[in-house]
């Protein structure tokens, strides 16, 4: 049972434009959501997170939006740069689960076209 889903396996965006990556979840106990970026042969790098008490969090070029009623979150990257080309994973955790383990989506490969 895939509790965190990223339905787009890949996305291509022109440099300078906005990249929008989407993520859906099914478990209503999730109360914290994170985005990671992963380059080949490296571990995931934490990008940005959002608590379920908020609907938006911004950090520089990165903004995460959370729609709890739709169980949907999105990551916006503006403007997109060639170095943003990577695989992006969304992840969710729940304080209810005690150790707050992360459940990951399947990833979206973002390619920025110069």
């Amino acid at each position: 049972d895939q509790q965190v889903k990223q339905n787009s396996p890949s996305l291509s965006v022109q440099e300078g434009r906005i990249s929008i990556l989407n993520c859906d979840y099914t478990n209503s106990m999730f109360d914290y959501f994170l985005w990671y970026k992963k380059y080949p042969a490296e571990g995931p790098t934490f990008l940005i997170s959002i608590s379920s008490i908020k609907d938006k969090n911004e950090d520089g070029r990165f903004t995460v939006f959370l729609n709890k009623s739709a169980k949907h979150l999105s990551l916006h990257i503006v403007p997109s740069q060639p170095g943003d080309s990577a695989v992006y994973f969304c992840a969710a955790s729940a304080a209810y689960f005690g150790n707050e383990k992360l459940t990951f989506g399947t990833g979206t490969r973002l390619t920025i076209i110069p």
Binding site: L34, E42, G43, S93, N99, E100, K101, L102, T106, G107
Partner: protein, 114 residues
Amino acid sequence: SAVISQKPSRDICQRGTSLTIQCQVDSQVTMMFWYRQQPGQSLTLIATANQGSEATYESGFVIDKFPISRPNLTFSTLTVSNMSPEDSSIYLCSGRGQGARAQYFGPGTRLTVL
């Protein structure tokens, strides 16, 4: 963010042998985790490494196959035992600080079993 290192970075092993992966974290980390990323798949939690006691394993993972030690706060090992080609994956260590929700990942160990 926490500084996390792993070794080896990669290895090629024969079927039936075992490999121990080491993870070192800085002192900000209180909780440590081990994940696996099989080819083309997402990250899956293997277990939570508990200091001075047995690890807490996720469904589908057992101690006999993936023994884990955490003798102190900043060091843990994961052993992949009696390996088969299906164990070929990237194995990742992560850590989380006290009161924090984000996990930070090591660079991973790429394991190929022939």
